[in-house]
């Protein structure tokens, strides 16, 4: 059931990498091609993988079973078709944008329905559970705002897109993607790093500040208060800084110090988040479009991208192991999880993508188009290795189970 999310997500990651070659970073964040690429990456890769991971992780995190896990069978076809229509709408036919937006909205409402009904069963209300509730409320609001924007672009509904774009991004990226990553990392970083006994206050404060910031940004847009949106952005910077400090605290007490592909991906991902915060801060002061785009680049391709790809090397082997080898425990020798990913291919994937993200990021920052293209080409090679690695992991031991 979960495999289509990971296969499609990685395939779309590869397509998104290829599509980078058609981007001119000098066009700015209002350009339809860039908007289409952002939706391809966020809906097709990030959301697809998050939803697939949630199908597996929600029961782990909230310690109760799904309300109806079968709903996940309809989520991915709706999300995929909606995303394709939206990207097509941005790239060539704005009239189909609302249809794509509607399909995406329906897929997310189904996901939210299962998540909320599952969370209602939770007895142990941890910070991660609270984070999940808040993140899902923000996602719903963000998608409704986004759908209304598609109606404005494709069906002529009157709405000031430039005014609502920031809130749409803050609701979805800050309110959902970042809060979800915060909540999950509080479980996954200590789990994989074997870290215990760290102070959780920074992430509690980060979660509260981020939630206030997202609501403040939304209210500021509704009431048209420009200083409110600026204050919200300042609070978001503070929340991310506290979150980075929390990750540093977890890192400091981890017992597992081997630098496998997961650990290296985390280092690069959080390093990119630091770079993104610094660049975002400078962009807010200077108003430079290049710096703003490079901050968004390091946030999406460096931070979100590497956090997801790094965890795929942990989650997919676990799912395959669970299905094919768990029943054989005690009867024959079963492989360890670290034998179930292609270490060499993963190293190449990491190397090409990391260097590509840095070079392309510098290309955006400097406005030097060829540098961006060169970096993008390396990312394409890295994404090819990622795709091959995912198929390698999914096929591991397939014949033994037959």
């Amino acid at each position: 059931m979960i495999a289509p999310f990971f296969v499609l997500g990685t395939l779309i990651y590869f397509v998104a990498a290829l599509s980078l070659l058609g981007i001119d970073p000098g066009l700015g964040h209002f350009d339809p091609y860039i908007a289409g690429w952002v939706h391809l990456f966020l809906l097709g890769f990030v959301m697809m993988i998050i939803f697939g991971a949630m199908a597996q992780l929600i029961p782990v995190v909230v310690e109760v079973g799904h309300y109806s896990v079968d709903l996940y069978y309809v989520i991915w076809p709706l999300l995929l078709s909606g995303m394709l229509l939206m990207v097509g709408g941005f790239w060539s036919a704005p009239a189909i944008l609302p249809y794509g937006g509607l399909l995406v909205l329906v897929s997310m409402l189904i996901y939210l329905f299962d998540t909320i009904m599952t969370l209602k069963k939770a007895e142990n209300i941890t910070l991660t559970v609270k984070t999940a509730v808040a993140a899902n409320i923000f996602l719903t609001t963000g998608i409704v705002v986004g759908f209304t924007m598609t109606l404005a672009i494709g069906a002529g509904v009157e709405l000031d897109i430039s005014r609502w774009l920031g809130t749409h991004a803050v609701l979805v990226l800050g309110g959902y993607v970042l809060l979800t990553i915060m909540g999950l990392s509080l479980i996954l970083l200590p789990m994989f790093g074997l870290a215990h006994g760290f102070d959780q206050k920074p992430i509690e404060r980060s979660f509260n500040i981020m939630s206030v910031a997202v609501v403040l940004h939304l209210l500021s847009t509704i009431l048209n208060i420009s200083w409110g949106a600026m204050l919200a952005m300042a609070l978001i910077f503070a929340a991310i800084t506290l979150y980075i400090y929390q990750v540093y605290l977890i890192y400091g007490v981890r017992a597992r110090k081997e630098n496998d592909i997961w650990a290296r991906s985390m280092f690069f991902g959080y390093g990119s988040l630091v770079a993104s915060v610094i660049l975002g801060f400078v962009a807010a002061i200077s108003g430079s479009e290049n710096i703003l785009l490079s901050a968004a680049w390091f946030f999406m391709m460096g931070f979100v991208g590497f956090l997801i790809t790094g965890h795929l090397y942990k989650i997919i082997p676990f799912l395959v192991w669970f299905e094919r080898y768990a029943p054989l425990v005690g009867k024959k020798r079963v492989p360890m999880l670290n034998e179930m990913y292609p270490a060499r291919m993963a190293d190449w994937e990491f190397g090409f993508t990391a260097i590509g993200v840095v070079i392309a990021g510098l290309g955006i920052l400097s406005g030097y188009k060829d540098l961006f293209k060169g970096g993008s080409l390396l990312i394409v090679v890295g994404a090819g290795y990622m795709l091959a690695s995912v198929f390698w992991m999914l096929r591991f031991g397939k014949n033994e189970g037959e």
Binding site: Q56, V60, V61, E63, I187, P190, M191, F192, L194, H196, G197, A255, R256, K257, E258, F318, W321, F322, Y325, A326, V329, G330, V334, P335, M336, L337, N338
Partner: protein, 103 residues
């Protein structure tokens, strides 16, 4: 009087490997105690390296199976998972600490 010893129970559990780290649960320091009564009923008191462990139910079942299959004369086996004291790396054997880079 039951002739089963704690060592026999611990030796049986040494066959249960955590697939994520590749070490058995005893050398990981996850098995806190084994209580054996006069009737040869065994209660294993253990913990997990993290509360949200997705293998929670499977690991406890494997511990139960290992004791039932490998300890001769055992009757009922119960596995209790506790969170106090919280596990930390100092509870693991030196070979585990060394392999994980914690020594």
């Amino acid at each position: 009087m039951c002739a089963i010893s704690k060592e026999q129970v611990f030796d049986a559990i040494r066959n249960v490997i955590d697939p994520e780290v590749g070490f058995n649960l005893v050398e990981m320091g996850l098995i806190y105690d084994a209580v054996i009564d006069d009737e040869c009923n065994v209660k294993v008191v253990m913990t997990l390296s993290t509360r949200g462990c997705p293998l929670h139910q499977m690991l406890t079942q494997w511990v139960k199976d290992a004791v039932e299959m490998r300890v001769e004369g055992v009757k009922d086996v119960e596995v209790e998972v506790v969170w106090e004291p919280e596990w930390n790396i100092s509870m693991a054997d030196d070979n585990v600490k060394k392999a994980l880079g914690a020594l």
